[in-house]
């Protein structure tokens, strides 16, 4: 198991190094000139660091949501966390001078609200069933997407509308070191918290009553994990827009590699999320002459992978529903 996680880390390292030399301007690492140095250190490196952290954050958020909600279809996108964060960030862009701090706070706040509404609604529809959370997530996502639509309608078409639209489509293009700084603290805080609580996630994936009888303060740890996962999601969203599928797919790929125990699954899903997003970003920036929006690529890559895995896992997941 530990070996699988190490293998994953190695894969990520290879993908990361290869991605540094991929893109519109292709150059081999053994013949660099001054311009190449600038591209590497000021354009590609910050971008790849952002991609890796966002991918890891989304993968972790997905695994954590799947465990605390005891639902293998949960993820920041499915629950509406991403839509909530997107609305929060869009409101901040519309109403303020879009200081990065307000965007962060607003994205986190509305992301958390969206998650909690989905959780509450799901319990109204049906206690502890896979379907109810997904349904609630659809409702919440629709609600916040509607609100985002309203904001687009209201936004100044010359100045703010293009910013909002392009950012919503999701992209890491143009990210410099200084763009990274505002999202870094919440993203790292979320990632580290979730990495630390990996054993608790095992216990929380049991029913509340069982978790309590094993000595775990369920409501406390569940709150911490939901906040941390939302923090990672909202920081990702405010940095790079709505990135679909990575959060819900990465845990499933990671489970194929290391199994279900969160002690291995949590680091593995961070590494898988990072690698997956890195590959998607590589495709987005090198496939076409102009850069593709990232969410288009993750849609094409993520959705079929999820479907294939669920088909394969059918028997294993069919545990008393």
């Amino acid at each position: 198991m530990r070996k699988c996680v190490l293998m994953q880390a190695l894969m990520l390292a290879i993908a990361f190094s290869a991605s540094l030399f991929l893109g519109r301007i292709l150059f081999p690492p053994w013949s660099l000139n001054g311009m190449h140095d600038v591209i590497l250190t000021y354009i590609r490196l910050p971008r790849l660091v952002a991609v890796v952290l966002v991918g890891a954050g989304l993968g972790l958020a997905g695994t954590s949501f799947q465990n605390v909600f005891r639902n293998y279809l949960a993820g920041p996108g499915v629950l509406g966390t991403t839509a909530g964060s997107a609305f929060g960030a869009a409101v901040a862009i519309l109403l303020t001078q879009a200081s990065s701090m307000t965007v962060q706070v607003s994205a986190f706040f509305f992301g958390l609200i969206a998650t909690l509404i989905a959780y509450r609604l799901a319990r109204l529809v049906g206690e502890d069933s896979t379907l109810s959370l997904v349904l609630a997530g659809i409702v919440v996502s629709a609600l916040f997407s509607g609100l985002v639509g309203l904001i687009k309608y209201e936004a100044d078409p010359y100045n703010k509308l293009p910013t909002i639209v392009y950012w919503l489509l999701g992209s890491f293009s143009g990210i410099r070191w200084c763009d990274l700084t505002p999202s870094l603290p919440p993203l790292l805080a979320g990632i580290l918290t979730l990495l630390l609580l990996r054993w608790v996630l095992n216990i929380l994936s049991l029913s509340d009553e069982e978790a309590k009888s094993l000595g775990v303060n369920v409501s406390l740890y569940r709150s911490i994990i939901i906040v941390a996962a939302t923090l990672a999601t909202s920081a990702s969203t405010s940095m790079a827009g709505m990135i679909a599928w990575v959060g819900v797919v990465s845990p499933h790929i990671a489970r194929l590699l290391v199994g279900f125990d969160n002690r291995d699954l949590i680091p593995a899903s961070a590494l898988v999320g990072a690698t997956l997003l890195l590959v998607c970003d590589d495709i987005a920036r090198s496939l076409w002459s102009a850069e593709l929006p990232l969410s288009v690529v993750t849609d094409f890559v993520g959705a079929p992978i999820l479907f294939a895995i669920l088909v394969r896992r059918r028997l294993q997941y069919h545990v008393r529903d």
């Binding site: 293998y72 630390l196 054993w199 216990i203 009553e209 069982e210 009888s213 279900f260 545990v319």
Partner: protein
């Protein structure tokens, strides 16, 4: 020694437990009573899964209801009827979860915890299942794995919710013998719910008969499990006969009049 004093519990309206009193000096105690009298609820209150409205649960003089989740889990372990597992963890992972109250929750289980979990599996002779997915086990194996989890928790008091349900004839007796033997050899106390008074007579040192959220009768099985008491609690005429010195409780036929459905409980 386990002593439950005047325990009350309500889910939303109306009390399910109405002043429960239980005194179990040592060994295996058993809650008997028809469906829905609050046996499972009582176990969940004792292990901290549910919060009772009032009452005390004294284990060797300490009120476990006043303890934190962690401290309580060190003293009390709970074996549910069925583990509601969403993800197919391995048996070893499931048994390791029993170590949770003893470990640093951020660091997770260490070598010593894995050893304790394997020892618990060994004690129940199911070490060979350690690497299998829990969900692939048979009913009897699942039950044993959950008991192993409770043993790995190293608590003084074991609570078992219907440890015989879903088990075949042999496994039922196997599981109960193992529980009785483990409790005896490790100086633990066990409280379980059972449906069959015959089984209770064979394996329990103390029987508590429950009706409508109260314990109406308690004591050693030979004193408590009588024709009269069982007939009254279950609303079913029974006869007690003796076979090789064992008490056997047999329902009198016909159980009710012509229409069976009118006499089903609830």
């Amino acid at each position: 020694m386990l002593e439950i004093r005047d325990l009350w519990f309500s889910y939303s309206k109306g009390y399910v437990l109405k002043g429960i009193n239980v005194k179990l000096r040592k060994g295996v105690g058993c809650l008997l009573g028809p469906n829905g009298v609050g046996k499972t609820t009582l176990l969940k209150c004792v292990c901290g899964a549910l919060r009772p409205a009032k009452g005390e649960v004294l284990l060797d003089g300490r009120d476990v209801l006043k303890l934190s989740y962690v401290d309580r889990a060190k003293l009390v372990s709970y074996v549910p009827q069925e583990l509601s597992l969403r993800f197919p963890y391995t048996v070893l992972s499931v048994v390791l979860m029993g170590r949770t109250p003893h470990l640093n929750i951020l660091a997770g289980p260490k070598e010593g915890d894995v050893k304790a979990a394997l020892e618990a599996l060994e004690l129940l002779n199911i070490k060979h299942l350690a690497r299998k997915p829990f969900t692939s086990l048979s009913g009897g194996e699942k039950r044993l794995a959950l008991i192993a989890r409770a043993l790995a928790q190293e608590s003084k008091l074991l609570l078992l919710d219907e440890p015989t349900s879903f088990l075949d004839f042999r496994n039922m007796h196997l599981v109960l013998s193992i529980v009785k033997e483990t409790v005896r050899s490790t100086g633990r106390v066990a409280l379980m719910t059972l449906h069959d008074p015959n089984i209770a007579c064979m394996y329990c040192d103390e029987v508590f008969i429950m009706k409508d959220g109260r314990v109406v009768n308690s004591g050693p099985p030979q004193d408590v499990v009588t024709e009269d008491a069982i007939s009254r609690v279950y609303g079913l005429t029974v006869r007690v006969v003796r076979v090789n010195g064992h008490k056997v409780i047999l329902p009198q036929r016909p159980i009710c009049g012509e229409r069976v459905e009118t006499c089903l409980h609830r």
